[in-house]
């Protein structure tokens, strides 16, 4: 089964932080996606990657982290004991401790929205399509297609010029 997640094209990010505000609205005032600026020249949004072999799921002693049917890594707060193991093993530092409830919190790929057949809020709102909700293979295929198209276009142009004898 093709598994969908959010891919990030940082060459398109304009640091408008619409994703953060949208995530915050969907998750009761807490944003699980964060935009980082790099040397005032570029920016990148970072959220949970829902890794293929997710270290957080493997390390969780209480099985509070699990995969739902779409393949998203979900945290069940009632099973979480706030041991912070998932936060430590995550290479991106994604799971965060909720200081009031002393349980972890993380991106759930907007489970509620997916149940209604909608995209996660951050990808749905991103004005520049820097965030894409999709299947990895499909995204790769589209990119290959696009670059091939460009190459063909350039080749055609070159052909025209050589026919004119330039």
């Amino acid at each position: 089964m093709a598994r969908k997640t959010i891919f990030i094209d940082f060459s398109k990010c304009i640091e408008c932080r619409a994703c953060e505000v949208a995530c915050e609205r969907e998750h009761n005032g807490k944003s699980f996606i964060n935009v980082f600026e790099w040397q005032e020249m570029a920016a990148m949004a970072l959220n949970c990657r829902h890794c293929e072999t997710a270290p957080c799921v493997e390390v969780c002693p209480t099985n509070a982290l699990y995969r739902d049917k779409d393949g998203a890594v979900i945290l069940a707060p009632q099973r979480c004991i706030g041991c912070l193991m998932c936060g430590i093993v995550c290479p991106f530092g994604i799971p965060e401790l909720d200081l009031i409830n002393k349980v972890m919190g993380k991106c759930d790929l907007c489970a509620q929205r997916r149940a209604e057949g909608k995209e996660p809020a951050c990808a749905a709102t991103c004005p520049t399509d820097a965030l894409i909700f999709g299947d990895f293979d499909e995204i790769q295929r589209k990119r290959r297609e696009k670059f091939t198209e460009r190459a063909i276009e350039v080749a055609k142009k070159a052909e025209k010029i050589s026919l004119l004898g330039v």
Binding site: I14, C16, E20, A124, T125
Partner: protein, 711 residues
């Protein structure tokens, strides 16, 4: 529980995005993206952070709920609607009887077309053309400049054309930050292989995506654009057929740009000569090009000249009257274009029909059934000085906040204090309201319905999504009640009797040629809206203007020659060694009346930061996080520092949302009457936090507490 999705237009910027408001029993609970409406300006329902937070300001705790009357400055008593309307109508009538030009009306680019039409109708029926709105402070030069070159002042193309262009020249405009959803089309063009040229004194988020970045000094635009035209003419890269057939005045342009060699322009603007040559070649040879600009270009004493030069640049390259090309001035608020079309302007009737034209005036005298003034009225800044002279005595301010938005704010506050009578009609307390005599609580845009015209001339209908709080009423209702109370209670177009906003739009259809076919029924059925001009109910609307001829009397583009380079009127000197410019934050909106009431936005953009180049900062001995005071000939402003290489050396950048206009210059462009908000001389000094706090008290408070006392 009845859950509903109501299609609305975003209450923020000029892109005019659509989205749904989710309501439960008429109470707004959230939003949903409009992914299912084809052809809207925000493709796939995309929204920027402001749109995402749109519900929050509706639920602000300090919304105005009852009409208020001032006992003394800033202290109010609650009164009933009938008392408020009676008092306003009587005062207006008294001033009008004496001399109608003692009155000044402010329309609003943040509310629908209908109230804007009504407020100018009220002003004009009372006998004065003193009516204006905030477009004076943003795009007045665009209207006057483009009118002289092409015959009309609106965007000549649509977003679709930006997407289809091969080169996009962005000048004086931080597109990515001011209109993130509009910038989508620039990136889509870039993905297709288009080149992006950005000219800005700051290395902005827009510049991140530029192929060529021209970092010029604030206010040196005339030299820069003339330099580009110089190279294009010298290297014969212009479109000779288009110039020959559709333009006049080319020879003057050739003569005027002669001295603007890349070397000369490098000296004036600080942009390397080879970059100017490269930009000119890239722009002229692309085949299809779009120029887009905003306040960085217009808010200058030479704003009109800047715009005329851009029009000339587009015309000589043949980038007019075809798809994928054109001039795109980007409007700041969702209805700037509409408020201009509805003639919340001192010199025209609805549809840009000049008040000085005998024939047009005759038509409206007949239409409204009163005698009208043929004298051009006062603009916002002129009105402020007329108050000083005692000529204007009363302001009616609908949905505007001049204390924060106008240049030289200290002078504006002094003027408002001097007024005999001021009515403020708004949704939340604003610093302007502290000076009001009567406060009228309005329903917010999303609590009310009507039509809006976005920056690409697209007229859309926004539906009512929530109930207004307390006794707040729609803008059109308030003005029509005042109109009736003044005595204009005849039927039809001769009075102010309306049942709903659609009634008003029908009257607009009847007197505005561009809107003739844009009926309320059509708009409600077609959520994507219609681009004006739309001369009849079966016309599909117009995407690209000037396909056959321009709207000038002879049908040709009148190229503009600007042989003299003029910088800002106030240049750095020994006393004030820096050049100050202003800009905005993506998550904050204009005078903060709406965004400052959203937690999600306040958290991310909590305070202003002044941008200073590392070399300048080292000289002044300041580092990021220090407090400084910026001082100009007009005011003092305390602010924290951000040291950054993204700003040009010798320039200080300040976001203007937090009342930075106490600093800016109100010297006017002679044609468009726009103040030079974007460039003035300033000096900078390090101060302590205590001193900053002390200085802060003297600034107008962004979220004022209006005190309501017992009668």
């Amino acid at each position: 529980m009845a859950e509903k999705l109501v299609p609305v237009v975003c209450p923020y910027c000029g892109v005019g995005c659509r989205f749904y408001i989710k309501t439960v029993d008429g109470y707004p609970v959230g939003i949903e993206y409009a992914t299912d409406i084809p052809g809207i300006s925000n493709e796939n329902g995309k929204l920027c952070p402001k749109g995402n937070a749109a519900v929050e300001y509706l639920l602000a705790k300090d919304r105005l709920k009852k009409p208020l009357k001032a006992k003394e400055q800033g202290k109010f008593v609650e009164i009933s609607w009938s008392e408020a309307i009676k008092e306003v109508a009587e005062r207006l009538k008294a001033y009008a009887k004496d001399d109608p030009n003692q009155l000044m009306f402010f329309g609003s680019a943040r509310t629908f077309n209908e109230p804007n039409y009504l407020i100018q109708k009220l002003a004009r029926m009372l006998g004065t053309n003193n009516v204006d709105h905030c477009a004076r402070l943003c795009h007045a030069p665009t209207v006057t400049g483009l009118k002289q070159v092409f015959g009309a002042g609106a965007m000549t193309n649509t977003y679709k054309d930006i997407e289809e262009a091969n080169v996009i020249f962005i000048i004086g405009h931080n597109y990515a930050e001011t209109h993130p959803v509009g910038f989508r089309y620039v990136l889509k063009a870039k993905e297709r292989g288009a080149k992006v040229i950005v000219a800005d004194p700051r290395f902005t988020r827009t510049a991140w995506h530029a192929d060529i970045f021209l970092q010029h000094y604030p206010g040196s635009d005339v030299a820069l654009i003339n330099g580009l035209i110089h190279v294009i003419i010298k290297e014969k890269l212009y479109d000779p057929k288009f110039v020959r057939e559709r333009c006049v005045g080319f020879d003057e342009v050739v003569k005027a740009v002669e001295k603007f060699t890349p070397e000369f322009v490098e000296k004036v603007t600080g942009v390397p000569a080879e970059l100017i040559v490269e930009a000119a070649r890239t722009f002229a040879t692309a085949g299809k090009g779009v120029i887009t600009w905003a306040m960085g270009l217009t808010q200058h004493t030479h704003g009109t000249e800047n715009v005329k030069l851009l029009g000339t640049l587009a015309a000589i390259c043949g980038y007019q009257g075809k798809e994928g090309a054109g001039c795109s001035p980007m409007r700041g608020q969702n209805n700037v274009q509409g408020a201009c079309d509805m003639a919340a302007l001192p010199n025209v009737f609805p549809g840009y029909q000049a008040v000085t034209s005998e024939e047009k005036r005759k038509f409206f005298e007949e239409f409204w059934g009163v005698e009208l003034s043929g004298e051009v009225g006062l603009t916002t800044v002129e009105a402020a000085y007329a108050v000083d002279e005692g000529k204007v005595k009363a302001y009616y301010v609908m949905g505007e906040n001049p204390v924060i938005s106008e240049a030289n704010a200290n002078h504006v506050m002094h003027v408002l204090e001097k007024l005999e009578f001021m009515v403020v009609q708004d949704i939340v307390p604003t610093p302007t309201m502290e000076f009001a005599d009567i406060v009228l609580p309005a329903a917010a845009m999303l609590e009310n319905e009507g039509s809006l015209t976005n920056t690409e001339r697209r007229v859309q209908w926004s539906f009512q999504a929530a109930k207004p709080p307390g006794e707040a009423r729609p803008d059109w209702w308030i003005i029509s009640e005042i109109g009736k109370a003044v005595g204009f209670d005849k039927d039809g177009s001769k009075g102010f009797i309306y049942n709903d906003a659609a009634d008003v739009l029908r009257e607009i259809n009847a007197c505005t040629p561009q809107y003739r076919g844009i009926t309320p029924e059509r708009l409600k059925a077609n959520l994507a809206g219609i681009h004006w001009p739309c001369p009849s109910p079966d016309h599909p609307g117009t995407r690209v203007l000037y396909k056959e001829r321009f709207l000038t009397p002879d049908g040709k583009a009148h190229l503009a020659a600007v042989p003299e380079y003029k910088g800002p009127v106030e240049l750095p000197d020994e006393e004030y060694p820096f050049l100050l410019t202003t800009y905005r934050y993506v998550g904050m909106y204009h005078t903060l009346t709406m965004t400052a009431r959203s937690d999600a936005l306040n958290k991310r953009w909590p305070e202003p930061l002044a941008e200073i180049h590392p070399d300048d900062a080292a000289k002044l001995g300041i580092k990021t996080g220090d407090w400084i005071k910026i001082e100009t000939r007009r005011g003092v402003y305390p602010i924290k520092v951000k040291v950054t290489r993204t700003i040009k050396k010798g320039v200080v950048g300040v976001p203007w949302h937090w009342a930075a206009n106490v600093l800016t210059n109100d010297a006017l462009d002679p044609v468009a009457k726009i103040p030079e908000t974007k460039a003035c001389a300033c000096r900078v000094a390090k101060i302590s936090e205590e001193e900053a706090k002390k200085l802060m008290e003297k600034l107008p408070s962004i979220v004022p507490r209006i005190e309501v006392v017992k009668g």
